[in-house]
């Protein structure tokens, strides 16, 4: 349970030796005017346009962008692996001076996995399920080094597993991929990539599929690799915060083109392209506040690849768009500062006066919370797991329980936004199910609008009760029934809740609701597949608010959306909440969004509440050690912020077999002794309404240094 704490103001500036070396040496990778197209039955669709990039030895370059911007296509093109219908239609890719487009299949094979290696998004899927990890690792030296023996390959594989901080390498070698956790799988994939000591490492969203505390460990490992191995890296991500923590330079892509590139510092502190500016305005960094400094959404949506506008791709969404200039032909990259290689694809970058530009954004007055709408008293939900094996029956352990929710006690008041935060398996979704009546509680009370609904399934609730408690779902592609029109889905809700009866009245109400969520009225006849992700989510919000609910549960409502769309949907949700005086129960794993959106925060771990309180109180000391680690794990896209690093060791324990005593003791960096292992921690009151469930004395918790601090400028 080692604590790895390092004060790193900016992880990049701490390791300058690489950067200096990089200046002199010739580049590892040079991409020049690369154009890639996919050929489909609809014709040629350009995926990457006029892409140029140079990666020097030991340098880490971030490639950041939203879905469909072409960032993964670039990585696959470097590997010369574009699939059946993708083709490089122009430009060159040179690796250590050799033109990769002209290489034979055999030359590429020798390069892949030895000189250029890759780390993938889904580690579970990237590993062969029917081969042991050992044999998959050993293949790398065996097939790239002519004289490598089996023993040598085995020894190297074990050694590399040690280098990626995998304990118990011998066991991992003989395990199959499904037998280890997601974080361990990703470490194995990284070990596989490093085994041949590549000159270039491509990382394609390596932490997206992982929990945030596991992600922090992987990010730490990646930063360490570039320090100790001197490997050049191309880090692909949609998350600017992650790029900031891992890279030297960054390249922002939008709709197939590079919008802007430069060093981390230049680009984060002095962005020149309106899109880059807009992106930063959409991210909930610690400086944002939903009342005083709300997020500034980018209007419109990402253009589809075959419907790109003429001229600047960002034009239709840009406030600085000028007719006849921005849409007159292709726009080339413009050099902003040759010294730092800062470039932007905007012809007006010199004209726009960013210092005096402010987006019209009304500040809101903070809400006054009203009476208690929801009160959970010791709510408990156990799932029985029946083990039918003979051994279990004989030992009397045939029925075990998954303690999905263990005595949850908290309140939500009118107009308030209460966030439930936690990683996978913490029980936040189970709580939502019980509250919605899809499951019934096994103990405790759940008082909603003065009535205990803990054991009342949805079929036993009155239409009025159901209408007053609705939900917004996570996955935009799943939230609407693909075979029904938008209008009929919202109309069904109105009829079901007896809000409107005759078809004309229903249609009118549906149109009104579309107005409320700011969608065009013509959408009433659209089917979900004709809508973008953000639009579907809006329909989902309209459906939830159709019955004027007292409370809406939002289960990660924006986490599957692109960053530039997230802010708009978040804003809409808040506007409607304000208008309808609704209580919002916001379920999320993203502390950044929670900090921005919530009035109160409930932190859960393995089915239990570890800490709860008002947002400012929870995000400042005293912390629960778990909250502290969570806060440290969240990447922050702001160079002014200084973060204390806390890396949790080990994987999340299984809910089937949670640790005794404090559930967090197996990973807690502040564990004080045996008491943590066998006694459930007491609930301590930090101040009114802020409680922490921990054995560590409150005074000591109060003395903890804040995780996040601002650099003195």
């Amino acid at each position: 349970m080692a604590v790895q704490e390092a004060l790193a103001a900016d992880p990049r500036t701490v390791a300058p030796d690489n950067a200096v070396a990089a200046e002199a040496a010739s580049p590892v990778l040079e991409i020049d005017n690369l154009n890639i197209s996919y050929f489909t039955r609809a014709g040629e669709i350009p995926a990457v346009i006029d892409f140029s990039l140079t990666v020097k030895p030991g340098e880490a370059v971030g490639l950041v962008g939203e879905s469909g911007c072409g960032k993964t296509t670039v990585a696959m093109a470097i590997m010369q692996y574009l699939g059946g219908n993708g083709r490089i239609v122009g430009g060159s890719i040179r690796f250590k001076g050799r033109d990769m487009n002209a290489m034979s299949e055999e030359e590429l094979r020798q390069l892949r996995g030895s000189q250029i290696a890759m780390v993938y998004q889904e580690p579970m899927a990237a590993l062969n399920p029917s081969m042991t990890i050992g044999s998959q690792l050993m293949e790398v030296p065996l097939y790239h080094e002519p004289n490598c023996s089996q023993e040598e390959a085995f020894r190297r594989a074990v050694e590399m597993l040690g280098n990626v901080r995998l304990a118990d390498a011998a066991r991992v070698m003989s395990a199959y991929p499904h037998q280890i956790s997601g974080g361990q799988q990703q470490r194995v994939v990284i070990a596989m990539a490093l085994l041949s000591n590549p000159a270039l490492l491509l990382l394609d969203e390596p932490t997206t599929a992982l929990d945030v505390t596991v992600e922090a460990g992987i990010v730490e490992l990646i930063a360490e690799i570039s320090r100790s191995f001197g490997t050049s890296m191309l880090y692909i991500s949609h998350n600017l915060g992650l790029i900031r923590e891992t890279c030297d330079r960054v390249c922002v892509m939008y709709s197939g083109e590079v919008a802007e590139e430069g060093t981390i510092r230049e680009l984060f502190e002095n962005p020149r392209h309106p899109y880059t500016r807009g992106l930063f305005g959409c991210i909930a960094t610690p400086g944002k506040d939903k009342y005083a400094k709300p997020l500034t959404p980018i209007r419109g949506q990402l253009p589809l690849p075959h419907e790109r506008p003429p001229g600047c791709n960002f034009g239709p969404r840009c406030d600085h768009f000028r007719d006849g200039r921005c849409d007159a032909g292709m726009i080339r990259m413009q050099s902003v500062d040759p010294a730092t290689a800062h470039r932007a694809r905007c012809i007006r970058w010199q004209e726009i006066d960013w210092d005096n530009y402010r987006v019209e954004q009304a500040a809101y007055t903070p809400i006054e919370p009203g009476e208690t709408v929801l009160e959970s008293r010791e709510m408990q939900k156990y799932y029985p797991i029946v083990d039918r094996s003979l051994a279990a029956m004989l030992s009397g352990r045939a029925v075990r329980y998954v303690k999905a929710n263990e005595s949850l006690t908290f309140q939500a008041r009118k107009r308030q936004t209460v966030a439930i935060v936690g990683e996978s398996g913490c029980g936040k979704s189970t709580f939502a199910k019980v509250l919605m009546g899809l499951e019934t509680a096994t103990g405790g009370e759940l008082v909603f609008n003065g009535k205990d609904v803990a054991e009342q399934s949805v079929m036993k609730r009155t239409p009025a009760q159901i209408a007053s408690l609705q939900m917004v779902f996570q996955n935009p592609n799943d939230t609407l029934n693909p075979s029904m029109t938008v209008g009929s889905q919202i109309g069904r809700v109105l009829r079901k809740f007896r809000i409107a009866r005759d078809p004309q009245e229903i249609e009118q109400r549906v149109l009104d609701l579309l107005d409320v969520v700011k969608l065009p009225r013509a959408f009433i006849n659209r089917r979900p597949r004709q809508l973008s992700g953000g639009q579907k989510q809006r329909v989902g919000i309209a459906r939830a608010f159709a019955g004027n609910p007292a409370m809406v549960i939002a289960d990660e409502p924006v986490s599957a959306l692109d960053v530039s769309v997230q802010a708009a949907v978040t804003g809409l949700l808040m506007d409607i909440q304000r208008e309808y005086d609704t209580t919002l129960l916001f379920i999320s794993h993203d502390l950044g969004v929670v900090r921005y959106l919530a009035d109160r925060v409930v932190v859960m771990y393995l089915g239990q509440i570890m800490e709860q309180g008002d947002t400012e109180a929870v995000f400042a000391p005293p912390y629960h050690p778990y909250t502290e680690a969570l806060l440290s794990a969240v990447p922050i896209a702001d160079t002014r912020v200084r973060k204390r690093r806390i890396i949790l060791e080990g994987a999340l324990p299984s809910v089937l077999d949670p640790p005794k005593g404090c559930p967090f003791h197996t990973r807690c960096p502040r564990k004080i002794g045996a008491i943590c292992e066998d006694t459930p921690p007491p609930e301590q009151e930090a101040e009114s309404g802020h409680s922490i469930r921990c054995h560590i004395p409150m005074d000591e918790l109060r003395r903890v240094e804040p995780v996040i601090q601002y650099n003195a400028e």
Partner: protein
């Protein structure tokens, strides 16, 4: 500031055009030549079956003795006697058997045409019955889970473990060969397979958020199963239905061939082969043409299924 700019006048939406949507989905077939070819063959046989009374030159059971085992394009000699329901008649000399005559002097072409009718009535009926039962079982098992799922899955495992043709032979031995019994036997043997497919699809679809949304607004389970889930399972089910229709066609043919199918003188393609097997060496055409007929129909259905699957994969 908002994701979608709204026009000021807020126009009322255009009315829906269901007919146009249907035409559009048929137009999808053009995206795969395999599907169009399959659909073409199937449509050809459907037209033949519907227009059988018009297309067939002779009544399917009318025997013209002199044309017994005649090769294709045989013209009857003038003045030879033969028997009809009305009594004895004599050939006028212009009776032409385009595909030849069978072992009893019936026109092979007319019998093949009428045979299309027989198979295109019973195979779809049997498949449809199997689907109704299979879908109901699959929806229940997949959506309700629990003991209903256990029982239904076990029962279908057991039925599926019967070798299909042995099952048919046993059923028809006991209940006798008749149209209804064939339909029942096919239903009994196919429903469990359909149930398995539907159950698998439902197990996936029931976890979708829109199903959860329906549950949270208190919809009753049958509404959720039939309106929220089933329409979204239609893609794989349509493909499977085409394949299964082809398979049922084969089954009805095989049963006819084995003498367990519809009783004679029904001009079922399988029966035609069975009747003329003995004379195959001297008059091969009377067995060849029914075989070509059944093979093309099944091929059409299989190609259609394959093409539809290809189209659905593209989207």
């Amino acid at each position: 500031m908002t994701e979608d700019a709204i026009s000021a006048e807020r126009p009322l939406p255009a009315p829906r055009r269901p007919f146009r949507e249907a035409v559009k989905s048929i137009g999808l077939l053009r995206e795969s030549w395999v599907a169009s070819l399959g659909a073409g063959i199937v449509v050809f046989w459907v037209i033949v079956a519907v227009l059988a009374p018009v297309l067939a030159p002779y009544p399917p059971n009318q025997q013209i003795g002199p044309l017994k085992n005649a090769p294709p394009m045989t013209l009857a000699e003038e003045g030879r006697p033969y028997f009809t329901d009305q009594g004895m008649e004599r050939t006028s000399g212009d009776e032409l058997y385009i595909l030849g005559g069978d072992n009893l002097g019936r026109d092979v072409l007319s019998r093949v045409i009428w045979g299309a009718r027989s198979v295109l009535i019973y195979a779809p009926i049997a498949t449809a019955c199997a689907y109704v039962i299979g879908i109901a079982m699959g929806l229940l098992a997949g959506y309700r889970r629990g003991w209903i799922d256990d029982v239904l899955s076990r029962v279908s495992d057991i039925i599926l473990s019967f070798p299909v043709l042995v099952l048919y032979v046993v059923i028809i031995t006991v209940f006798g060969p008749s149209a209804i019994n064939i339909v029942l036997a096919v239903t009994f043997a196919s429903a469990p397979g359909i149930m398995r497919i539907v159950r698998g699809l439902v197990l996936d679809l029931r976890n979708r958020d829109y199903v959860a949304a329906a549950q949270t607004r208190g919809e009753n389970p049958w509404y959720i199963m039939l309106v929220e889930i089933l329409p979204n399972a239609r893609g794989p089910l349509i493909v499977d239905a085409c394949l299964r229709l082809g398979y049922t066609t084969i089954t009805i043919g095989v049963l006819g061939f084995l003498g367990l199918g519809l009783p004679p003188p029904d001009p079922n393609w399988g029966n035609l082969v069975a009747e003329n097997r003995e004379v195959a060496q001297i008059a091969p055409y009377s067995t060849l043409f029914p075989c070509i007929a059944i093979s093309t129909l099944v091929l059409g259905l299989n190609l259609l299924a394959d093409g539809l699957r290809e189209i659905s994969m593209k989207d």
